[in-house]
């Protein structure tokens, strides 16, 4: 059958052209040339009328098959070419992904504020609330009501800045204890982070620094509870097995009072310059709230007991980041500050 061969040859020719086509335009031409209304396949089929019904059926089926095949091929080739074209288009715009970013570089945290927030968050997670007070404070709250009477040598423990309005710059965050207990009756569980001031300036003392005060007042609070809370806090901050030592001390507003040391984080307790060879670092002061303080704020010391603690934030930050001169913290020298990106 002549026609059959013709159709098959046509199919072969078209297939070859499709596979060789290099763009979509060419493909469209091929489609028109072979499959179009006036295309080659249609032209051949026009001669079908001369054939017998059997032959017509056979040829018709063959033509349809070839037509389908070609359409499939055209579609496939078209997609290939599209992809290729897109790839070419995209690769032309290839970007050097190693270029520096166009960005707003996130700012640096201040190590003291970072430490202050982290410690505060620890206590907030334990159920403490944050309390606050002003930095310009009445002597009454800063001293007298904390059982530090006038003309008592205990006032020398903290060198005070006196202001021309008769107040002082608070020497510790402890007056927030007084302010809190005047406003709220037990149970009390607060911390008071904030700036405090002492007339003192050298590589380890700054006239302005930060403290965090803690106060827990309830029925049946004991010194052992104080030890428990501080152990949790110190282990959270310095690691699970940090050695802790309580040394009896004296603060007028707590009794008994203690200073807490941790094993030196620099030398691991062997003795070094940072711990002055003792293997211990003084980290905070604490104690049981003195009954005189409770009396001053009208809380019954026979019913309630409580503990308080105060820690120096700079001290902890300096240990953590091995900062050797406290004054660096407050100049704003960005060569220093930029070393603390990405901390809390």
């Amino acid at each position: 059958m002549e026609l059959k061969k013709q159709i098959q040859a046509l199919g072969e020719e078209a297939k070859k052209l499709i596979s060789e086509a290099i763009d979509i335009e060419k493909l469209n031409q091929i489609r028109v040339e072979f499959l179009g209304k006036k295309g080659k396949l249609k032209n051949i089929l026009k001669t079908l009328g001369k054939l017998s019904p059997e032959e017509r059926k056979e040829i018709g089926q063959l033509a349809n098959k070839i037509k389908e095949e070609l359409e499939q091929l055209l579609k496939g080739r078209q997609e290939e070419l599209k992809k290729k074209a897109l790839e070419e288009e995209l690769s032309k715009n290839k970007i050097d992904i190693t270029l520096p970013p166009h960005w707003i570089e996130a700012g640096a945290s201040h190590p003291v504020i970072s430490t202050l927030i982290e410690i505060s968050e620890t206590f907030i997670s334990m159920g403490f609330s944050v309390a606050e007070g002003p930095e310009v404070e009445k002597e009454e709250y800063n001293f007298d009501m904390l059982n530090i009477p006038k003309d008592h040598p205990a006032r020398d423990m903290q060198d005070t800045f006196f202001l021309n309005n008769g107040d002082v710059l608070r020497t510790h965050t402890s007056p927030v204890q007084i302010r809190t207990m005047l406003k709220q009756k037990p149970p009390i569980a607060v911390i008071a982070p904030g700036r405090v001031y002492r007339k003192d300036a050298d590589p380890t003392h700054s006239p302005m620094f930060h403290q965090i005060e803690g106060l827990l007042v309830d029925e049946n609070v004991t010194f052992r509870d104080l030890k428990g809370i501080l152990k949790v806090f110190l282990e959270t901050t310095f690691g699970k097995d940090i050695p802790i030592r309580f040394r009896p001390s004296y603060f007028p507003f707590t009794e008994p009072s203690a200073e807490v040391d941790i094993g030196c984080t620099v030398c691991g307790g062997k003795g070094c310059r940072v711990c002055k060879g003792t293997g211990w670092l003084e980290i905070l002061g604490c104690g049981m709230v003195d009954p005189n303080v409770f009396k001053a704020v009208d809380i019954d010391p026979d019913k309630y007991t409580g503990f308080a603690f105060g820690l120096g934030v700079e001290r902890i930050a300096m240990l953590k980041y091995r900062i050797t001169d406290i004054r660096l913290l407050f100049t704003g020298d960005l060569r220093f500050n930029h070393q603390f990106k990405g901390i809390r």
Partner: protein, 803 residues
């Protein structure tokens, strides 16, 4: 206080190593460290100085001849206390002093065969003046190591808390060590004889002198003290002077009882203990002229003040080399009065330090008698009379300590038996009772132990705080309060940090000068006893501090400074937490690449709108609405590039460019933007609330929670409208009037500003119209635009629609 361990051992038979003693002292409440008393040094001997002459060629040097009994040495020294007929310590050739070997050395044409040593060079003091001179009768040619006991003793350095005056003496420290280890203290009591030939004339006219005992000693010989006393003083860090003065110092160190020796012959009439009269004057032993105030406690004779009681003696009655007769005072003065006067006069002496912390009134005669015994022995004096005025003898206070109190406070049960044992060890006479113990508080602890709780501390510290097992309390949440203020500040901090600003912390006290430069009033609250003038004024804004940070960074050639601080500012009745920003130089870094133009753009610098954008974005991030920017008239800002910020018509801060004149004066870039936001109000008055109008925190706390509104059902219609207006018109005025001009307008977005000429500009905005209940037709919108235009023309002069 420095205490030789050997001295302590005279009072308690402690067989522990010094290390152990020091560790236990720390664990029971006395901060202590120790060091060795020197180290063995070869080739150092005692020599007698025979002659001292000036070096013929060298100005400040002396040429000395010294002998060790066998041979003579020529020694050249620069020490100007070098004296003939004294004994010095000579480092011969081969001695190693502070790491340097001693060799013969020429000074000009003369050679020195070694050097005389000072305490510092011997390694016995951190600093010292002149060479160490020993008494005349010191054997010469001896190994100086032996004489000084180098390497054979330890010095314990203690620091006591203000409540532990009782431990401020060798005797007191021995008592404490005895208590810690459970060893009974020992003591040798003095034996003296008082001739009772005369009675000192003493009158006490004040109740601030609790006891006064005066003793007359006649015919004394003032000379250097025996070497063992001198050595103990040297070890304790004191310089020996003469026998009488040394003995008073010695007893103060050993007993904690200050003593004062007056030259009896310089006292006119009787001794009077009284309060000073306003304006009375006295020249004290340190050579200073002191002005007294009414109330100061003094010792006077019938004519004049002769000592400031308990603090310092007067020059007019001081013991010198010619003194023959002495009145030796031992007294106890009121601790508060001593402190008041010492504070005011800014004098702190070993004596005032002890009186302020309490002196054992009951040990006074014992201490004074020990001094007398030594004076009899070393100054050959004769005790001729005494008088002891002690009107209200000490009555021990009785304090009960209940077992249940100890347990309630410490969480640890300490039995009455054990408590009694601890307290008795501390020499506090204690007996058991039904529910605990009862103690009679001795005079040496009278100021410290006044209440039951004080005894809880005593038994607790002797039991050992480190022995208590931790318990973990339940923190009651009954009064829990969300820490909104704290969280708000953290949130604010995170915003500025995440937006590229570095956090700084600055001193809240600044100089007066910066306010003058900025042209704003110097704040009223100031530190009276400031450390330096630049840290005097409590700031009332953050700009003054942030500018300082910029200046600091410019000194280090850092030009891109984008910083913020959240901190306090100070006002007469309150404090304000503010957020401050300072922005200069680049803030967006690196390259931005444009595909179409195939170009790279570099960094971006701060300008007004970017700075405003930062602040604005923060305000939006905390939910602020109705934010308004109005021209600012702050004298340190450029009036044409600065805005005050208002929320709901309340001033909350500013953002603006530094005034160019100020920038010049401050030597900072003119392209510097400064902003401050009033975050929170912190009242000083305890009755006042912290939620005050005009603070972001107040808006933040009081703002309405957004409530979900159904999404629009009908589409919006957009129109671009361009207006021609006067060039001087504030664009925001036009935009806000436009927004308010129709109830159908849901959004107005500025997209173009174009200056047509000097007087006129075109402002184009994309306007969104929407009705809730239907789709708006073109005709409706056109009609609405007409209405809007009519309205705007009335509100804004010379307005025209351009399209």
């Amino acid at each position: 206080m420095r205490v030789p361990y050997s001295w302590i051992k005279e009072f308690v038979d402690v067989d522990k190593t010094v290390e152990e003693v020091v560790e236990r002292l720390n664990e029971t409440g006395i901060e202590a460290t120790y060091e060795k008393w020197g180290e063995y040094i070869p080739n150092i001997i005692t020599v007698k100085i025979i002659s001292v002459e000036k070096h013929p060629e060298r100005d400040k040097l002396f040429v000395c001849k010294a002998t060790d009994g066998n041979r003579e040495y020529q020694i050249i020294t620069g020490a100007d206390n070098v004296k003939e007929n004294t004994v010095a310590i000579l480092a011969k050739e081969g001695a190693v002093i502070q790491g340097v070997e001693i060799k013969r050395r020429k000074f000009g044409s003369l050679e020195s065969e070694g050097m005389f040593l000072s305490l510092e060079e011997l390694g016995l003091a951190e600093s010292s003046e002149g060479i160490l001179l020993l008494p005349e009768d010191t054997p010469i040619g001896e190994d100086a190591n032996k004489i000084l006991g180098l390497g054979e003793d330890y010095i314990i350095e203690i620091e006591i808390t203000p409540n532990r005056g009782d431990a401020l003496s060798v005797r007191g420290l021995a008592r404490e060590i005895g208590a810690i280890f459970g060893i009974k203290r020992k003591e040798k009591f003095p034996v003296i004889s008082i001739a009772e030939e005369e009675e000192p004339q003493i009158e006490v006219l004040t109740n601030k002198c609790h006891r006064y005992r005066g003793i007359i000693i006649r015919n004394i010989h003032i000379k250097p003290s025996p070497w063992d006393i001198q050595l103990k003083l040297l070890k304790s860090g004191q310089n020996p002077i003469n026998n009488v003065v040394d003995i008073t110092n010695y007893i103060l160190l050993q007993e904690g009882q200050p003593l004062h020796a007056f030259d009896l012959d310089k006292i006119k009439g009787k001794i009077i203990v009284r309060h000073a009269k306003e304006g009375e004057k006295i020249k004290t032993l340190d050579g200073e002229e002191r002005q007294l105030k009414e109330g100061d406690l003094i010792i006077a004779d019938e004519e004049k003040p002769i000592a400031i009681a308990g603090i310092i003696g007067g020059d007019n009655t001081k013991v010198d080399e010619n003194t023959k007769n002495v009145l030796l005072e031992a007294a106890v003065f009121d601790n508060i009065q001593v402190r008041k006067t010492a504070k005011r006069l800014a004098i702190s002496t070993d004596s005032s330090y002890r009186f302020e912390r309490g002196v054992d009134i009951e040990n006074l005669p014992n201490a004074q008698d020990k001094a007398l015994e030594l004076i009899e022995k070393t100054a050959n004096g004769k005790i001729t009379g005494d008088k002891d005025i002690y009107l209200k003898p000490y009555i021990p206070k009785e304090i009960k300590l209940r077992e249940k109190t100890t347990e309630r406070i410490l969480g640890v049960f300490i039995s009455r038996k054990e408590a009694k044992e601890f307290l008795n060890r501390l020499e506090i006479p204690t007996e058991e009772t039904d529910d605990g113990t009862i103690s009679k508080i001795p005079a040496f602890r009278a100021l410290d132990l006044e209440r039951e709780i004080d005894l809880v501390e005593e038994v607790g510290r002797l039991k050992g705080l480190n022995t208590f097992k931790e318990t973990y309390p339940k923190v009651s949440t009954q009064n829990f309060r969300k820490s909104e203020e704290f969280l708000f500040e953290v949130r604010t901090r995170d915003f500025f940090k995440d937006n590229g600003l570095d956090e700084v912390v600055t001193y809240t006290f600044v100089s007066e000068e910066i306010f003058e430069i900025l042209g704003i009033p110097v704040p009223k609250i100031q530190i009276q006893n400031y450390l330096v003038k630049t840290q005097k004024v409590m700031r009332d804004n953050l700009a003054v501090s942030l500018i300082g940070v910029l200046q600091e960074n410019i000194r280090h050639q850092i030009k891109d400074v984008s910083i913020f601080e959240i901190s306090s500012t100070f006002f007469e009745k309150h404090e304000e937490i503010r957020a401050g920003v300072l922005l200069t130089g680049e803030f967006i870094k690196g390259f931005s690449y444009s595909q179409e133009e195939k170009t790279f753009n570099t960094t971006e610098k701060w300008d007004f709108l970017k700075a405003k954008g930062l602040i604005h974005s923060y305000l939006v991030s905390i939910g602020m609405k109705d934010i308004d920017y109005r021209p600012s008239d702050k004298p340190y800002l450029n009036p044409y590039e600065s805005a005050d910020i208002y929320i709901e018509n309340q001033y909350v801060g500013y953002i603006g460019k530094i005034h160019p004149e100020k920038a010049d004066k401050l030597e900072i870039p003119k392209d510097t933007w400064i902003g401050e936001l009033k975050l929170r109000y912190v009242p000083r008055d305890i009755k006042e609330d912290n939620l005050k109008d005009g603070y972001l925190y107040t808006f933040y706390i009081q703002k309405k929670t957004p409530v979900y509104k159904e999404l629009p059902k009908f589409p919006a219609v957009k129109r671009d409208l361009a207006f021609e207006v006067d060039a001087s018109l504030d664009v925001n005025k036009l935009l806000s009037k436009l927004k308010a001009a129709s109830k159908f307008i849901t959004k107005v977005e500025l997209f173009d500003i174009y200056f047509l000429n000097k007087e006129r500009k075109s402002v184009a905005a994309s306007v969104e119209f929407r009705a809730e209940d239907r789709s708006l037709s073109d005709e409706e919108v056109n009609a609405e635009v007409e209405k809007i235009l009519e309205k705007l023309k009335k509100e804004i002069s010379n307005l025209k629609l351009r399209s």
